[in-house]
Amino acid sequence: MKNLHHTLGFSDQDVLTMYRYMLVARRVDERLWLLNRAGKIPFVVSCQGQEAAQVGAAFALNREKDYVAPYYRDYAFVLYWGMSIKEMMLNNFAKAEDPNSGGRQMPGHFGSKKLRMLTHSSPVTTQNPHAVGIALAAKLRGDDIVSFVTFGEGSSNQGDFHEAANFASVHKLPVIFLCENNHYAISVGLESQLACAHVSDRASGYGMFGKSFDGNDPLAAYAAVKEAVDRAHRGEGPSLLEANCYRLTPHTSDDNDMTYRTKAEVDEARKHDGVLTFADYLRDLGILTEEKEQEMEAAIRQEIDEATDYAEKAPFAKPESIYRYVYEETD
């Protein structure tokens, strides 16, 4: 196995960290399904199959100053960005302490001003113009930052995608549009969503940089996003990237994917699962030893256990709190 990360400037420790975040996201996600099946949480939306792209992308950004607008599958991204496992669990149990919305929104609707992470909603693609607005404002203020936004390939067919991309290009704004193409929009496959080969083929229609990469490879994700980041800092405007992924779970816990795709198809995709293939890569290079792996899994499990326990016991927001924060409260 050839070492691919050194040329990208990553140490062995770096790629272990990368893997760790992928694994944390995967294990959190798996736990959520268990909690759902046990009747403890009513709803799960998953990141499984997209962790590699998310972590690779996050590594290319600056956690100290960039603005991000992750979408509902971005568990791995958000964990790396600064949300703790405990906060993830509070979010999924919809408790008062959930930093994203205090239990007001469904799980996976992230947002944190402290983390410069825009608040996400359910109507898809509305975050795209927001990310453009962030970049516009930063440019006006002379702040040298990047504004990063993600969305699904189905969502790339919404008008808001087009309007946001066009606005960003006309004003040459430092925006990175990352489409996480997991080949399904609920039950509707790629061929019924778009007629071009890659979502990134749309870049040329906006006169912007476009690139598609292997969404199972965090290093490919890093390289692509890094290129877009560098372009943005050089004043070369926005980029449209596509991560080629596969959604390994049903759309959400409310979905039964066997009504529209086969187990064989999913099993085939599992073979390319980035969490597994990146682990293989690290094992082959002797970076991920069995010992390290066990230690990692154990630590993660313990953290998830504690977080789950904490979140389960944590109080809901008070019913009367629903009347608050409709408008600014000045007194």
Partner: protein
């Protein structure tokens, strides 16, 4: 007559209309193989094929806009919005186009389009899967907005909507889908859009409402009957344009009116009902009109206790009727 669920009535109405008229098609997200995320179109893809039950790209403005074009060609498209909350990207097509095409073309063109959308809360849907979206469109002449409460009404009104030569927004209460069951005739029938329906005759207090809350009102009326309070219940069925005559008659009948909606209060459909009564029946009222609605906050939160606090609860309905009776 068979007893079927609210969602089965929807499914059956579409199936029968598609069998009856090959110009009826369905367009929407996941309506094909998946049979819709709520299974409203279950079996229709298998029966009618992918060219009449069309999985569209994820783009509501196109679903409605393409539906309008197909309707102008002479088809009768049923456009499914996955949740009423997600109609908002299509508002321009609905209000600027569907609603105005007959009028602006001086009756030359028309848009026989039915837009179906699940609405309503109490399903752990959070802010964006729980909203009542009727008020946004209830000031748009050219549109009709149907919001049925029972399987019988669903089937008759959905068939009428599909056969209508004007655009109809057909709101289905998603919690009613499996919760509400009722008798539905086997024979083909339609019900008139624009007509309210008396769901219970009574003499002390009039309740005017629509959708799932009709059932809260019916339950409260049952309870209150034992306490000697007789409740008259008018189900609006069509919330735009309203059946003014029926509203006036129902208000005058008891002189005490409770208006119920799941929507946030200010600017809701029941505000117009109150205005109609205030304009037409002032001297027939024995008590001020009372409105019971959701609080004026942006939408229903997700966490259980918060959702509960947002929603009008059956005991509030009962108490409000009692207060009016005792007024």
């Amino acid at each position: 007559m068979a007893v079927i669920s609210y969602i089965d009535a929807i499914n059956l109405a579409m199936k029968e209309e598609m069998e009856r008229d090959d110009q009826v098609i369905i367009m929407g997200e996941d309506v094909g193989k998946r049979g819709g995320v709520f299974q409203a179109t279950k079996g229709l893809y298998e029966e009618f094929g992918g060219s009449r039950v069309i999985d569209t790209p994820l783009a509501e403005s196109a679903i409605v806009g393409v539906g309008i074009g197909a309707a102008m060609y002479g088809m009768r498209p049923i456009a499914e919005m996955q949740f009423s909350d997600f109609m908002l990207p299509a508002v321009n097509q609905i209000i600027s186009e569907a609603a105005k095409i007959r009028y602006r073309s001086n009756n030359d063109w028309s848009v026989p389009l039915t837009i179906r959308a699940p609405y309503g809360g109490g399903v752990h849907g959070g802010l964006y899967h729980s909203q009542s979206m009727e008020a946004i469109f209830a000031n748009v002449p050219g549109l009709k907005i149907v919001m049925p409460s029972t399987p019988y009404d669903v089937k008759g009104l959905l068939k009428a909507s599909i056969r209508s030569n004007d655009p109809v927004i057909f709101y289905e209460h998603k919690r009613a889908y499996r919760l509400i069951k009722g008798e539905v005739p086997d024979a083909d029938y339609t019900l008139a859009i624009g007509k309210a329906s008396v769901k219970r005759e009574g003499t002390d207090v009039t309740v005017i409402t629509y959708g799932l809350m009709v059932h809260d009102a019916l339950k409260a009326a049952d309870t209150l009957k034992d306490q000697g309070i007789s409740v008259h219940i008018l189900d609006l069925c069509t919330v735009y344009p309203l059946d003014k005559q029926a509203i006036i008659e129902a208000a005058v009948k008891t002189g005490k009116v409770l208006l119920l909606t799941e929507d946030t209060k200010e600017g809701s459909v029941i505000s117009e009902v109150a205005a109609i009564i205030a304009e037409n029946c002032l001297f027939d009222l024995d008590a001020p009109i009372k409105r019971l609605a959701a609080p004026d906050v942006p939408a229903m939160p997700y966490a259980g206790p918060l959702e509960h606090e947002f929603m009008v609860q059956p005991d509030q309905v009962e108490a409000a009727i009692r207060d009016l009776a005792e007024f």
